[in-house]
């Protein structure tokens, strides 16, 4: 018996949120008296997989099939199902991200398992197998008890700190009998944004709203983001007006992000906007209107004109970075 975690990588590099999932699973394994096995798919170096031991994994099952370098959700689900059977796993962990949401639901169906999507807590084992998750776009939380024998947890990234320890996982090959159906979706073209900090992964985000007046003023947002090493985001009217690309739009109808720091500049703080950012650990609001609703959701606030404040803040960050 073990807890199985699906670990993703990008071109052979494992990103931090996966370490978080492994560490999360290892804590559950400890509490349930078992161990963690990770599943890694596609082309990746053995040393990179062994390093998962630093986050609590005892074992890595590796499916070394190059076709898995791109997402084939049915093939990923077949592999995860095979791994779960092999290990007689009762608990499966994935991330609640784009790939996780394509794969975990399929595995849950295969295993007739209850699933919690967007888990924010460890399972409370005293009251069953109860996990906290956000509902109503962050306006409330639900405590969901998984009552089936096998359980699938999709962890919301950035919910727990990642602490690197010692250890080296043992890597084993896993053979999976894939069928043609597993590769039914054909990838024709991939367009990746390069050279920018990815919004979905970012710890720090600087975001602009209609208060920025027009695309010509976005240099001020970008300069601050660059100085901080932050990603940039925007409110919906801003992307609707094509001042910014659509993938930057956060909120109810855009992306949901949970960075450590969200700096909202010239954004009023409408409930639909907050729905995408209310999981942020710290919120700084810069707005010229002291009555702007966003101030109620903020940890820090600056009342004033963004055009004057942004250059000053950027300069203050630069000074700070030089001294530290």
């Amino acid at each position: 018996m073990s807890v199985i975690v699906l670990v993703e990588h990008t071109g052979g590099i494992i990103k931090k949120k996966n370490f978080e999932a492994v560490q999360y699973a290892s804590r559950i394994a400890e509490n349930t008296g078992t161990t963690v096995t990770t599943l890694v798919l596609g082309t990746i170096a053995v040393s990179e997989m062994e390093s998962l031991g630093e986050y609590g994994a005892q074992k890595v099952l590796h499916v070394a099939d190059g076709r898995l370098d791109e997402l084939h959700a049915r093939a990923y689900a077949s592999a995860l199902f095979t791994a779960a059977q092999k290990e007689n796993a009762k608990i499966i962990v994935t991330l609640h991200d784009i790939n996780g949401r394509a794969v975990a639901p399929r595995v849950a169906v295969k295993l007739k398992a209850g699933l919690v999507a967007g888990a924010l807590s460890y399972p409370d084992l005293e009251n069953g197998f109860v996990i906290k998750k956000a509902v109503f776009s962050g306006k409330a939380f639900a405590f969901v008890n998984i009552v089936s024998d096998v359980k699938v947890i999709m962890l919301m990234a950035n919910s727990f700190p990642v602490i690197k320890g010692d250890g080296k996982a043992v890597v084993e090959k896993l053979e999976v009998n894939f069928s043609d159906k597993d590769f039914g979706v054909k990838v024709k073209q991939v367009n990746k944004v390069t050279g920018e900090v990815l919004l979905s992964d970012a710890d720090l985000v600087v975001s602009g709203g209609r208060g920025m007046k027009g695309p010509e003023n976005w240099g001020l947002i970008e300069n601050l983001a660059k100085e901080l090493g932050a990603a940039t985001a925007c409110s919906r009217p801003v992307s609707d007006a094509d001042w910014r690309p659509h993938h930057e739009h956060v909120g109810q109808t855009g992306g949901t992000i949970r960075p450590n720091l969200y700096i909202a500049v010239g954004i009023s703080g409408a409930i639909q906007h907050l729905a995408g950012v209310n999981g942020s650990k710290n919120i700084v609001v810069i707005n010229k209107d002291p009555e702007a609703p966003f101030f109620k959701a903020a940890n820090y606030g600056v009342v004033g004109d963004a055009m004057e404040i942004l250059p000053k803040l950027t300069e203050a960050v630069r000074k700070f970075k030089q001294q530290h």
Binding site: K110, F136, V284, F295
Partner: protein
Amino acid sequence: MKILVCISQVPDTSTKIILKDNNTAFNSSGVTFVINPYDEWYALIRALELKESGIATDVHLITVGRADVEPIIRKGLALGGDEAIRIDADSNDPYETANYIAGYARGAGYDLILCGKESIDYNNGTTGAMLAELLDIDYIGFAADIQIEAGSAIVTREIEGGEEVDTVNLPAVISCQKGVAEARIPNMRGIMAARTRPLKVITPSALTPVTAILSYELPPAKAGIKLVSSDNMDELVELLHSEAKVF
């Protein structure tokens, strides 16, 4: 080509959430309910566009819910749906919902099943992929564009840090988000026509639940904001460093 659109009833996006019954339920009195925005603005409208352009012949709507969801189904019909199916069950579990929908859709000859990327009440984003697994067909999530060509769909979908164009043979399930279509408002003719369009009610056989929501909680109020003078950005940076510890 027959399209099935999964629509879910949710509280309007501006709803303030109030709990009742010792925090075990959400108080729906006075709440305005709407079609989940992703289901309406993107999935349903794209289905209607495909019908208007002669690619699709039938657009059916399906929802899992009790009789109180009928107003939103009528709205879906008023926008242009040909027929609606209501599976008479309460479900806040995606596995149950997907099973109910699969129970109806299996063998019913749908070439394309569209759903929203996520319901804005339970925020799972998992029902579509479960449905695809139950029907043993492909699923593409987070679509921003859907074109149909000779028995397959060409789908632009979101990936981390960009977009990808995929092709998939039909039948398939696709979840829709911004970009797939533009929202529209039902007109009077549609509203009148909707009255005579069929709304089938199906009583499903009971399922063994795999999850149960035990209780709800509201987020704690923010501990009060710290205001920093616009002339003192060094102080803000210092607070972010030493107090918030974000860098």
